[in-house]
Symmetry: C2
Subunit: 531 residues, 2 copies
């Protein structure tokens, strides 16, 4: 660390994390592997647990499988054991009953699959990295799973503009991170996408100047022709919307791609993306600090924004319960202890001397004014990674506790933690843990509640209370995760009825038979349980 002297000067509480063995247990579980009490149990089928009725789509027939086998020999999965991992979500909280996984490699194949399914009235579940947290990425019933696992070609990378094009919709959901990182890192200039806790591309905290911009999408629609209900308009055969070549700035007509971002596979299948990558920062610093109250977490944030300005790239907070779970289940040890709240501050800039000076000034100020009571800093990659691990592996640690009720809320920052406190008081002993952490800069709270196992009565105690609370303060009931299967009936807490009606009209126009990821994103009054 180039500037240990700087940090330690007048800052005895700042312990460098150099030499601290943060990761005593080295094994990092593959996502979805449950251990402890929740382990090895079969996940209950979604159609058994929830009141949902299968819509009248066609049933898969032998002829359908034969068609797909001819279309893409060797990339049609039908064996029960092979299909199983595609039916269950990452959290092991929902399970579909699909009998078929298709693994197209080209956009032409995706077009042909969608055209065939549209004609046959077969429902389709587009699946990327299967990292969703709201049950949106797996089937509810027997939808055909269209996996993009083999669509991993990198199309182009332009060193001057930082434009990265790849035929892999999993980039936005993070799973091909490794490959993207290799290419971008190889160029030595650009920032690869950094996956969030769940392996998803997320824009953490105050990542203002570092945000990747999703510049363009290539989309496949389900409808082949005469798509619009009653519109009489014709979409071209293959139904491609190839806007991949558009540049950084384009203001010709309506910005269609925006409608597809966050639509969770219900409007079309994204077959390629183009991302504008920012310059790779030359210097990255991290500070991990302890605060004695949430009020101090907020005040530290305000000070930090003012003093770190353009180099502030993340401001994360977590409560002490989160740290307890990470230490207990993952054997990570935090270099900072005995605080009810912790914050992780990341700076990214082009001049390490300048950045360290700014960070040091901020830390001295935060300490002198009593905002922060304990802390550690890191400037080298290995230690930065260790400290990030404490924050990023909270989700993983939580899954070891049993069943996790997950909420991803945005609220005015001042009210953020009140929801956790109120929920804890409300649930009392009926919940094992009620924890809160998140991206403070975005006003984004991850509220997680754990119990030994799923229970209807606990769910009823949480919902709709959590949504009503959020709506009272004009928050969003889903800041990042989407609505998927689990949250779709609650959209009205964040969107007016007129907006939902309009969304339903868009859905009907783009997917007239409703075959694309049915039972997701938008509410339907009709569904009731029958497998």
């Amino acid at each position: 660390m180039a500037s240990t002297a700087l940090w330690s000067r007048g800052a005895a509480w700042l312990r460098s994390c150099r030499g601290t063995a943060l990761q005593r247990g080295r094994s990092r579980e593959a996502p979805g592997v449950l251990r402890g009490r929740g382990c090895c149990r079969e996940v209950v089928a979604t159609c058994e647990r929830y009141a949902v009725r299968r819509l009248p789509f066609a049933r898969l027939a032998d002829g359908d499988v034969a068609f797909f086998e001819r279309l893409m020999p060797g990339r049609v999965v039908t064996g029960e054991e092979e299909v199983k991992p595609f039916n269950v979500d990452w959290l092991k909280s929902v399970r579909g009953c699909s009998q078929l996984v298709l693994k197209p490699q080209t956009t032409a194949e995706v077009s042909q699959i969608l055209r065939y399914c549209h004609e046959r009235n077969l429902a389709v579940n587009p699946q990327g990295g299967n990292t969703g947290l709201v049950g949106g990425s797996v089937p509810v019933f027997d939808e055909i799973i269209l996996s993009t696992a083999l669509m991993n070609q990198i199309i182009s990378f332009d060193k001057v503009s930082g434009r990265f094009c790849c035929r892999d919709p999993r980039v936005p959901s993070g799973l091909c991170f490794g490959e993207a990182k290799r290419v971008l890192g190889g160029a030595g200039v650009y920032h690869a996408t950094r996956p969030g806790s769940q392996g998803q591309l997320s824009h953490r905290g105050e990542r203002g100047h570092q945000c990747r911009r999703l510049a363009a999408l290539e989309i496949r629609l389900s409808a082949r022709d005469g798509a619009g209900p009653g519109s009489g308009k014709v979409l071209a055969d293959g139904s491609a919307l190839d806007c991949l070549t558009s540049l950084r700035k384009d203001n010709t007509g309506y910005d269609l791609k925006q409608l597809f971002i966050g639509s969770e596979g219900t409007l079309g299948v994204i077959t390629a993306v183009s991302i504008l990558c920012p310059q790779k920062p030359k210097a990255v610093n991290l500070a991990f600090l302890g605060c004695q109250s949430f009020a101090k977490v907020l005040e530290t944030f305000t000070t930090c924004r003012a003093m770190l300005g353009e180099i502030l790239s993340a401001y994360e907070f977590m409560d002490e319960k989160c740290m307890e779970l990470v230490e207990r289940h993952l054997k990570l040890s935090s270099p900072v202890t005995d605080s009810p709240f912790y914050v992780l501050i990341e700076t990214s800039g082009s001049n390490s001397t300048h950045d360290e000076e700014k960070l040091n000034n901020f830390l001295e100020q935060a300490m002198a004014s009593g905002l922060v009571t304990d802390g550690t800093v890191a400037t080298d990659d290995k230690k930065i990674k260790m400290l990030w691990g404490l924050r990023e592996r909270i989700t993983e640690a939580l899954t070891h506790e049993g069943y996790v009720y997950k909420y991803d809320i945005s609220l005015p920052v001042g009210k953020l933690y009140d929801l956790v406190t109120d929920m804890r008081a409300r649930l009392g002993q009926s919940a094992k843990n009620v924890v809160g952490y998140g991206h403070l800069g975005d006003g984004n709270l991850h509220l997680n509640i754990t119990a030994e196992s799923y229970s209807h009565s606990l769910l009823d105690a949480i919902e709709p209370f959590v949504y009503e609370w959020t709506a009272r303060y004009s928050g969003s009931i889903s800041a990042e995760h989407g609505l998927g299967f689990k949250k779709k009936q609650f959209i009205q807490y964040s969107k007016p009825r007129e907006a939902v009606v309009l969304m339903q009209q868009f859905k009907a126009m783009l997917d007239p038979k409703g075959i694309l990821n049915p039972y997701k994103t938008l509410p339907s009054a009709l569904e009731s349980s029958t497998c």
Copy 2:
């Protein structure tokens, strides 16, 4: 200037602009006031100049005016002279024949106007600041002008988050900049919107970390009920889409607001906006440099991105012809001369010492490697404003030359200036000037061609050549300006047919009678001239 020594050390060519009288002539014309040869001439009516036929909307009747007078007494404009400025665009290039301007003050009034017009089948031209450059902001025929001039209430400003809400759609188009600046500047923390050359909010150059984010919109639709053609869905009475309370992060359902941004009033009327303002930078520096070739402009940009990193907030370029016109017509004098190209580099950061050190390092490097041959720097507000004036008043200077054919193209940066060179060669003596300037970081070129007066034959020499050229290099034919009336027939050069068909379906769904800003944005094969 705190660091004159830094700049001048080993940099004799760097002349500080302190004390340089950049603005010899002080008078700044109000937009739209033409002088010189183009002055005082009546603008030719759009329906006379272009091949366009009036669609079968109802004609304005006395009863209509009486209705509006009852709805908003004193805010209904009918006098020919009073209506005239609303019929003509800022560039004095197109003219409508509307007989009625309405000035609602509330969203309820906008709803009532749209509902009435929908029922009566009266066409409406929503008009904000009337700063459009593609004929989108004024009527083509006798559309009723719905002016938002009186919708200027500031709803709220949150100091912690920087969220600025106002009931004034003109903020995005820049005209209420003064008022927004007063409120934001008063808070002392946040950045007001900076208008571009045309008084529009624009994100200049490399303004990565400073971009304002348009967080939410409140929208009024034209259709009252049974909106979707054949969809059978009902939009609520008043047709409001109030998504104004949504926070920084919101992922519930489809992102409807994105469809309305850039839709040029053809899908609905935006009645309020919510903008996330960034922290006001504590230090701003400007460098104005001369380059001997466009290749050096590009290389300077690459060097600049690498060395200025997170503080680079603008990188603009302009050719020598631009400077000539600014000097001739506006009596501004450039402190840097005798270069075929000029670049304007702005840095914005939180620490003036750090920023000046970074800028100085960059300038020394740029000079030592011969990228730059002459230049000046500024750190105080007054001089910064003077230097920005050289860039921002190019559009104004151009209007003094006669008729201006304006193109706003995005291209791969390497090809950017080739279009200007090719166009100059193609037009020869038939054009008075062919100039190029723009936001290099965005790959955005403003190509402007002037002539004594409008001529069909010159237009035919320019179009579709300019669009074909742009399409050949996968550029966008409208990076910022939109398509409006003048460019809509050329959308296919930037968007595939399927995308245009989909846009037309959206339009038909949201505005089934097509009364909202007709003849704009999307192409229609049917139109041919008849006033």
